[in-house]
């Protein structure tokens, strides 16, 4: 088979940092090609190079044998490379038809032929097996339909290569099946498809070949059929599957489930309409509770509900034996809860404020504005946490935005630890940080647990959950499916629950 898209030795640097270091990728006509790698491996940078968002510093891109160098998404699209992004990048304020044909509407002189726009949009969607009113506003439709509209838009330009960047992360199982069917149909029609997904099942059921990236480097390309799952994971992680702290999964031991005493937190049918729950479980002081499930299973939504960001609409929370209502983050903090969001940049960090100020803010907020923490006390707190969490910063007065991801995460942890909370909720605290910092955070969580702090821990990495947690709440489709405790926790057990209905 002939390669339709060929990338050779792509290098992309941002400042001193090389996001891509000589990456190759060959996509054939009529194949679905998986692009795999952990967060930070360089997948999204590579996609941006292919779509003309970033110009590569070195390397060549050949499309159908001819060298191209797209300078913008528009040029890439004109050349024949179309992209459907994870968060569908269409316009919810315009009609479905316009979204499919925007920028290349059929014209009559200076005017758009609206009838023709509708006809072509309808035809494009019908090719994907979708029959909807294309004059309705896109925003009225669910994500799956928007996804299809995005693909229809790509089809309308007669794309030779279609890049799908995590298109399945917010779809339900049925919608995923429909999407995979559409992808196979397009492949059989001769299109080259680059498919990015975290879900191994989808990779193995839909793709023909797999290219793996790690740390911005090219690891290799394999036929999907000849690459066992465990080998794929090994290639992505770069080593046999052992834990970052050195122990293997089998060695991980769990403290026995807390036997007696009032639980710190008890949830009864806690739910938020169309978002999360109902949740039913207890959290003991000095325990680590994991929320496990696939992306989109409601892990983050559950955490946000618990912390009062998107407060529960029904059910009960009992805190240390007393009923409590957590309707805002402020109320949650007042009750001794703390929450580190998965989106550090958007929801956690104050990049312009100093490390010291970032650390003292939550404590200051809980004391109230009028009782200003003295400068001496602030300095002491900052120094204490910089030392105890091993935060690498030039000093406490450095703007927090200048720190590396792992150290920013530690600053946020310090902010909450300064409050001495009773329950700490961590949403993917180890995402996007280097492996050394990961290990440090795991060790820290263990020592916090041993000091009596209750922790709720969310991670996409199942091994991490299994290794760390005393109790695992398994979620699926925004529902609580099982609560595993102590020795009952294992990868297998969790996967069985997750996979049960899928």
């Amino acid at each position: 088979m002939t390669p339709v898209l060929q990338l050779n030795g792509i290098v992309k640097r941002f400042g001193g940092f090389a996001a891509l270091r000589g990456v190759d990728l060959e996509v054939r006509a009529g194949e679905i090609h998986a692009l795999m790698g952990e967060n930070g491996a360089g997948k999204s940078t590579l996609i941006k190079v292919m779509t003309g968002v970033h110009a590569p510093d070195e390397g060549t891109i050949r499309l159908g044998g001819l060298g191209i160098s797209p300078q913008s998404p528009r040029e890439a699209e004109a050349a024949g490379i179309s992209t459907v992004y994870q968060e569908v990048n269409l316009l919810p304020n315009l009609s479905v038809a316009e979204n499919i044909l925007l920028g290349r509407q059929p014209m009559l002189g200076p005017f758009i032929r609206h009838g023709e726009v509708k006809r072509r949009a309808r035809a494009a969607l019908q090719r994907l097996g979708l029959d909807i009113d294309v004059t309705r506003t896109l925003g009225e439709f669910p994500v799956a339909v928007r996804q299809m509209a995005a693909i229809a838009r790509a089809l309308d330009v007669r794309a030779k290569v279609l890049i799908l960047d995590e298109p399945t992360s917010s779809l339900d199982a049925k919608e995923v099946d429909e999407l995979l069917t559409v992808m196979r149909g397009l492949r059989d029609g001769g299109m080259g498809i680059v498919f990015v997904s975290h879900f191994l099942d989808q990779i193995y059921s839909a793709t023909d070949r797999i290219t793996v990236l790690r740390d911005g480097g090219y690891i290799g390309t394999w036929d999907t059929a000849s690459l066992p799952r465990l080998d794929l994971i090994g290639q992505m992680l770069g080593k046999p599957v052992v834990t970052v702290t050195g122990e293997t999964v089998a060695e991980a031991h769990h403290s026995p489930p807390p036997a007696t005493g009032i639980p710190l937190l008890s949830l009864q049918n806690l739910a938020r309409e169309k978002s999360a729950g109902p949740l039913n479980f207890d959290i003991a002081p000095g325990s680590l509770t994991g929320l496990a499930g696939l992306l989109g299973s409601g892990r983050t939504e559950s955490a946000r509900m618990l912390f009062g960001i998107d407060p529960a609409t029904s059910g009960k929370i009992t805190l240390a034996g007393k009923p409590a209502r957590l309707r805002t983050p402020r109320e949650a903090v007042r009750h001794g809860l703390a929450f580190c969001s998965e989106d550090r940049k958007a929801e956690g960090l104050f990049p312009d404020l100093s490390v010291r100020e970032n650390i003292v803010l939550a404590l200051q907020a809980s004391r109230g504005a009028l009782r200003r923490i003295s400068r001496k006390e602030q300095d002491a707190l900052a120094e204490q946490f910089i030392a105890s969490l091993n935060i690498k910063t030039r000093g406490p007065e450095t703007p927090a935005g200048l720190l590396s991801g792992g150290n920013q995460q530690k600053v946020l942890l310090a902010r909450w630890l300064a409050l001495q909370p009773k329950l700490l909720i961590l949403d993917e605290p180890t995402r996007g940080i280097d492996i050394g910092a990961k290990g440090e955070i795991e060790t820290l969580l263990r020592s916090l647990r041993d000091k009596g702090l209750a922790v709720v821990f969310i991670s996409a990495e199942l091994e991490e959950v299994v290794r760390l947690c005393d109790q695992v709440v398994v979620l699926r489709d925004r529902h609580q499916e099982a609560v595993l405790q102590g020795p009952a926790i294992s990868m297998d057990a969790i996967l069985r629950v997750v996979a049960a209905a899928a």
Partner: protein, 319 residues
Amino acid sequence: MNLLRHRWLLPMATAVILTALWLGAGMRYDNLLSVRVFSNLLGNNAVIGVAAVGMTFVLLAGGIDLSVGAVVAFTSIFIASQMRGGMGASAVMAAALAIGTVFGALQGLMIQGYRLPAFLVTLGGMFLMRGLAFMVSEESIAITSPLYSALQERGIPLAAGVQLPLTAVLFLGVIALGALVAHGTRFGRNVYALGGSEPSALLMGLPVARVRVAVYALSGFCAALAGAALTVQSGAGNATNSQGLELEAISAAVIGGTLLSGGRGYIVGTLLGVLVAGLIRTVINFAGNVPAAWQSIAVGGLLLAFILLQKLIARRAPV
């Protein structure tokens, strides 16, 4: 379909208010429901209306232009002074329109090219143009031109002794043309796309930078056209003209259903918005004993009400 989600909800609400206001006031004041009042309403609000069409495009694209009132004033004094200096009417008009357009485009370039906040750039632009207007002349300059007298007398006869002034015809023409551009051309749709989501528009390969600059250029052009209409209407140019006109234009667009966050709205809605505000002023005039200051308060109140209604819709609409 849920009424709150209906695309035409806001303009329809405006139309209802307009009709109710007109009928209600018409029952109270005899002559209000006349062709003459209607014709005057269109004529008296032509300057605001023409500028408001440009403003609507800016708002649809998710921007704001605070300079339009000052551009109107500058254009009026520029035209008057150049005509006094002996330049031909059509040459002066063309020059004035070109200045307004280029000025708008420059503002757009600063906003687009240097990522500066639109309100600040155009607030600066407002000061600049207002000052330049005074630089041209501190005093009002009357225009004495046979062409102008002809323009002022002309009109489309509507009824016995009533004719629609040319400025009103211009206003309606600009509305029609604006609606056509907004709905029927690629540029128009790109404006909506830009206002809907700039990152999406970029990833869809739309010429975002050009569209944004063009939108401010268009607003500058419309403001200059409004200034030219003002000279015809008043027969003079004055640097103090049209203080706060930008606010009236924004109010008209919003009352007409244009979302301030961009991406939604209709040019025809702006026509309705201009008429609602103008009618309030007319009714206050008819009432006689009501202080004129109530007009700005009433318009401000309506503005607030419509912004709140927009919020309500935004909350109900699916994300």
